[in-house]
C-alpha cells in the first residue's frame, strides 16, 4: 500500500526545497511522485493518506553521537531500546560510539552490531575505537574497519592523551579515509573533576573541570593536523578529516573558526543540553545527577558563545551524546554520578524551542544541523526527495507544545534534566525502511 503525504512543508536542503507540496511513497519505500504546490495530489485507490497540514517533512534526522550500551551494559540501554528512542525522537539513523563492554575495536564487534541492527527501525552506524580497548595505546585495525564499511573512528569518553599515538591515528585514519572524531579532553586537567570549575564548583565543594581542558586538547590536535598536512597528508595522500565532538566552550569554537579559515577539514558538533543549560542550572538543581556530564555544563558566557557559533555557522551539527545511565548511577552524590545524559527524544524539541523559536537559526538550518551535515560528515549517502529515491523522512510538528515525562520516554533510562519541562516542536513520526512509524 502506497502512502501519500499530503500538503506537507517539504524541507530538504539537499534538493534546495522548502515549499508546500505532496509526496507519494510506494509500498517498497521509493518516492514515486513529488508535487510542489498547494494543489493536493489525487489519491490512488487503497492508498493511505497522511494529511500533513503544513507540518514539516524533512530528510530523516541523523544523530552522529549516541551510546546504546550494548554489548555489556544492557541494563542502561539496548540496541533495541536505543533504536526505539531514536525513532521516537525523529531520527532514522544514529552513529554509535564504541565504548561498550567490550569496546568495539574489531570487526567482530562491528559484526555484532550489524547483526542486531537489521530488524530495528533506524540505521545503526558503527564508529570503531581508535585504539585497542580505547586505552590510547595501540592502534585499532582501521583497515578492517574500512573493509566492513565503518566510516569513522573515535575513543569517545576520552581522547588519546599521547600525542605520538594521536599522530599515528591521524595518519592511519587518512590511510583508509576514516573520519577521526575526538572527545577533546586533557585528562591531566580533568582528572577527578565533576562540574565546571568556577564559582559554582567552589560553592559546592566539588572538584572542578577547567573549561580550557577541552580547547587544550583541541589545540594539540589542530597543531598535529596542520603539521601532518604540511609534511605528509597532502596530495596524493588523503587529507585528514577531523570532527570535534560536543564542543562546549568559546576557546574551542575560536580554534575551530581559525582551523576552518585555514582550510583544514575540521567540523564540530554541539549538544542540545550544552546550548540550553549552563553551570548555574546545575547549581540550582535539587537533583544534580542529570546535570553531570562531560564536558560539564559550562559558564553562561560559554553557552552564549555556542549560540553565536550556531548563528554564524561555525557549528556543523547537533548531536545528542545520548548517554543512558540507570537511576542508581545518577541518584547519588554528584562526585559519584556517572557522566552523561540521554538526549534522543528531546533533541528536536530543544532545537526548535531554544534555537528556531529564538531566531538563532532558521528551520532550514536546523535540518542541516540535524540531518544533512551529520550524514555528510560521516560520509553517508545524502537523502534526496527526487522521484525514484529511497524514502527516508522525519515528520515534524514545529508548533506543538509538549511536556517531557519519564513514562513517555522510550529509552531504558530516564537520566535527563528536561523531565517536567515544556518544549515547543516535536518529531511526530519517521518513514524509513519502507515503514511509517508515528509517535
Amino acid at each position: 500500500m502506497s502512502i501519500l503525504f499530503q500538503q506537507a512543508r517539504l524541507l530538504n536542503p539537499v534538493d534546495g526545497i522548502d515549499a508546500i507540496g505532496s509526496i507519494r511513497v510506494s509500498e517498497e519505500g521509493i518516492i514515486e511522485k513529488l508535487s510542489i504546490g498547494s494543489n493536493p495530489l489525487t489519491p490512488e485507490a487503497g492508498e493511505r493518506i497522511i494529511e500533513m497540514g503544513g507540518r514539516i517533512l524533512s530528510p530523516g534526522l541523523f544523530d552522529m553521537h549516541c551510546h546504546f550500551r550494548e554489548p555489556g551494559q544492557e541494563y542502561k540501554e539496548t540496541l533495541e531500546s536505543g533504536a526505539a528512542a531514536a525513532a521516537a525522537g525523529g531520527f532514522t539513523g544514529v552513529a554509535l560510539m564504541p565504548n561498550t563492554r567490550p569496546v568495539i575495536d574489531s570487526p567482530l564487534g562491528v559484526a555484532f552490531i550489524r547483526h542486531h541492527a537489521g530488524g530495528l527501525p533506524v540505521d545503526l552506524e558503527v564508529i570503531g575505537a581508535m585504539t585497542v580497548e580505547s586505552r590510547g595505546e595501540g592502534l585499532a585495525p582501521f583497515g578492517k574497519y574500512a573493509s566492513y564499511g565503518v566510516t569513522a573512528v573515535s575513543d569517545d569518553g576520552s581522547a588519546i592523551q599521547n600525542s605520538q599515538i594521536m599522530r599515528l591515528a591521524f595518519e592511519y585514519a587518512s590511510n583508509f579515509n576514516l573520519l577521526v572524531i575526538q572527545h577533546c579532553e586533557d585528562r591531566s586537567l580533568t582528572a577527578g573533576g565533576v562540574v565546571n570549575e568556577g564559582m559554582y564548583s567552589t560553592q559546592l565543594g566539588l572538584k572542578g573541570i577547567p573549561d580550557i581542558s577541552e580547547a587544550m586538547m583541541l589545540a594539540r590536535d589542530l597543531l598535529l593536523l596542520r603539521w601532518l598536512e604540511e609534511h605528509k597528508l597532502h596530495d596524493p595522500l588523503q587529507r585528514p578529516r577531523y570532527h570535534a565532538a560536543h564542543i562546549s566552550t568559546e576557546a574551542s569554537l575560536n580554534l575551530i573558526r581559525q582551523a576552518k579559515k585555514d582550510g583544514l577539514l575540521v567540523t564540530c558538533e554541539v549538544t542540545p543540553h550544552h546550548f540550553t543549560l549552563c553551570d548555574e542550572d546545575m547549581f540550582n538543581a535539587e537533583e544534580k545527577g542529570s546535570y553531570i556530564m562531560k564536558p560539564p555544563l559550562s559558564s553562561a558566557r560559554n553557552r552564549e558563545a555556542l549560540l553565536e557559533a550556531l548563528r554564524d555557522g561555525t557549528v556543523d551539527a547537533i548531536a545528542t551524546d545520548h548517554a543512558p545511565h540507570a537511576s542508581h548511577e545518577k541518584q547519588c552524590p554528584p562526585q559519584e554520578a556517572a557522566f552523561g545524559i540521554i538526549g534522543l527524544e528531546t533533541s528536536v524539541g530543544l532545537t526548535i524551542s531554544q534555537l528556531v523559536e529564538r531566531n538563532i537559526i532558521s528551520m532550514q538550518r536546523a535540518i542541516e544541523l540535524l540531518s544533512v551535515n551529520p550524514r555528510k560528515i560521516m560520509n553517508l549517502q545524502p537523502i534526496s526527495f527526487k522521484e525514484g529515491s529511497v524514502a527516508n523522512f522525519t515528520l515534524i510538528d514545529p508548533l506543538i507544545e509538549w511536556k517531557v515525562t519519564a513514562d513517555k520516554l522510550h529509552s531504558k533510562s530516564i537520566n535527563t534534566p528536561f523531565i517536567g519541562k515544556t518544549l515547543k516542536g516535536k518529531a511526530i513520526g519517521i518513514y524509513h525502511k519502507g515503514r511509517l512509524q508515528e509517535t
Partner: protein
C-alpha cells in the same frame, strides 16, 4: 693531538668540542667521501667519477658514473662467478679487511667475507657482543685501535644512522657502509640495481615500487638515491604511518593503495617489516599489514602484472610476501622472484666495491 682528544671525548659525551673538527686539520689527507665528491661537481654539474671515491658510506651524492662503474665492474665478476671453476686474480692479496658488525647479519657479512676472499684479501671478524664495545669503548676508539693494527679497510654495520659517515672522517682507510641505522645500505641497493639492470637491460625510465616500512628502511633510502640517480622512477607504497614525511620532495611517487602501486610499476622491491625496529606501534597488527600490503598472487593477478620481485631478506613469509611470490622463479607469465639471484649478485657487487676502493696501489 689535544684537540683530537677533545673530539673523541665529545663523541663519547655527545657535547661539541671547543675547537674545529680535528680531522680537517689534516694530520692525514682530507677525506674524499661521497659528500666531498658531490661538492666537487664540475661546472656542467657532472660529478667526478669514482676514481675519487675513497669510501662508500652511501649512494646519496654518488654520481651516476660512479654507480655505472661499480655495476660494470660487478658484471665482470659475475661472469667469472658463473663459470664452473671460478677463479679470480688475487688483486687484494695481503690486504686485511675488518668486518665491524655492531648488528646481527648473516647474508651481508658472509657476502663481504666471500667477496674479500675471492679477491685474496683476509678478513677479521668482529661482533659487538664479544668485543671491548661491551666494555664501553666508543665507536671512534674501536676504529682507531683497529686502524693502529694496520687494517686496510672497514666494513661497518651499526644501529646508528650516520655512523659510517662519522668514521669515514676519522680514518684514512676506506670505509664501506654495510648498513647504518635507518640511513643507508649502499651495497644492498647496488646489488638491487645490478639485478634490475641485468634483467631489464637498463635502469633508465624503469618504474620501481618499494613496498613496506620505508620509514625505518636503510635499503629504501639507498635505493631511492641510487635509482633516481641512475634515471629510474621510484614509487613508495605502504601504510601512511610507515611513509616518511616530505618523502615526495625526494622525487618519488607515493602510494597507499598497493594495487595502484603494482599497476604503475615494472618491478617491486619488497621491504622487510622490521619487527625488531618498532614497526609494531605504527601498525595495529601484522595480519592487517599483510592484508593490505602483502605481495600475494591474488593481488598480482588482480592487477594483471607480472612483476620482477626483489627483497633484501631476510623475509617474513606470508607477512610482506607470500610463499608463492617469494619462491617462484618459473614459469614465465607470472611474477618472478629474484631473491636468491640477488644474493649471488651481492657477491659480485661487494667484490666490485672492494676492488674499486682497495685496488691499485696499497
Amino acid at each position: 693531538m689535544h684537540s683530537l682528544k677533545n673530539w673523541r671525548n665529545s663523541l663519547r659525551t655527545g657535547k661539541r668540542p671547543g675547537g674545529k673538527h680535528p680531522c680537517r686539520k689534516a694530520s692525514f689527507p682530507v677525506q674524499k667521501n661521497v659528500q666531498y665528491i658531490l661538492q666537487q661537481m664540475t661546472p656542467d654539474n657532472k660529478p667526478i667519477p669514482m676514481a675519487d671515491m675513497n669510501h662508500l658510506t652511501g649512494l646519496s651524492g654518488l654520481s651516476a658514473d660512479s654507480i655505472t662503474g661499480l655495476l660494470d665492474t660487478a658484471a665482470g665478476f659475475k661472469q667469472t662467478l658463473r663459470s664452473p671453476n671460478a677463479s679470480f686474480s688475487p688483486t687484494l692479496k695481503n690486504r686485511r679487511i675488518a668486518l665491524v658488525f655492531f648488528e646481527n647479519s648473516t647474508r651481508t657479512r658472509f657476502s663481504f667475507e666471500i667477496a674479500a676472499r675471492n679477491l685474496g684479501a683476509g678478513t677479521l671478524g668482529f661482533s659487538a657482543a664479544s668485543s671491548s664495545v661491551s666494555k664501553g669503548e666508543t665507536l671512534s676508539d674501536t676504529i682507531k685501535n683497529l686502524e693502529a693494527m694496520q687494517v686496510d679497510a672497514f666494513v661497518l654495520r651499526h644501529p646508528s644512522s650516520g655512523s659510517a659517515k662519522l668514521i669515514s672522517r676519522i680514518t684514512p682507510k676506506p670505509v664501506i657502509n654495510a648498513g647504518d641505522g635507518s640511513n643507508e645500505h649502499p651495497t644492498q641497493a647496488l646489488l638491487d640495481m645490478f639485478t634490475l639492470r641485468e634483467h631489464f637491460g637498463s635502469l633508465k625510465g624503469l618504474k620501481v615500487t618499494i613496498i613496506g616500512d620505508v620509514l625505518h628502511s636503510r635499503v629504501a633510502r639507498s635505493n631511492i638515491y641510487g635509482l633516481l640517480r641512475a634515471g629510474a622512477e621510484v614509487g613508495l607504497c605502504g601504510p601512511v604511518t610507515l611513509i616518511p614525511p616530505d618523502a615526495e620532495k625526494l622525487g618519488v611517487r607515493l602510494f597507499t593503495d598497493l594495487d595502484r602501486a603494482i599497476a604503475w610499476a615494472d618491478t617491486a622491491i619488497v621491504l622487510r617489516l622490521q619487527l625488531e625496529r618498532a614497526s609494531g606501534t605504527y601498525l595495529p597488527s601484522l595480519e592487517e599489514y599483510s592484508r593490505h600490503y602483502g605481495l600475494t598472487d591474488e593481488r598480482l593477478e588482480r592487477t594483471g602484472k607480472h612483476l620482477l620481485v626483489l627483497h633484501p631478506g631476510p623475509i617474513n613469509r606470508e607477512i610482506e610476501i607470500s610463499n608463492h611470490v617469494a619462491d617462484r622463479i618459473q614459469p614465465p607469465g607470472y611474477s618472478k622472484s629474484m631473491l636468491l639471484e640477488q644474493v649471488t649478485n651481492g657477491i659480485a657487487i661487494r667484490m666490485a666495491v672492494l676492488e674499486t676502493l682497495l685496488g691499485g696501489t696499497p
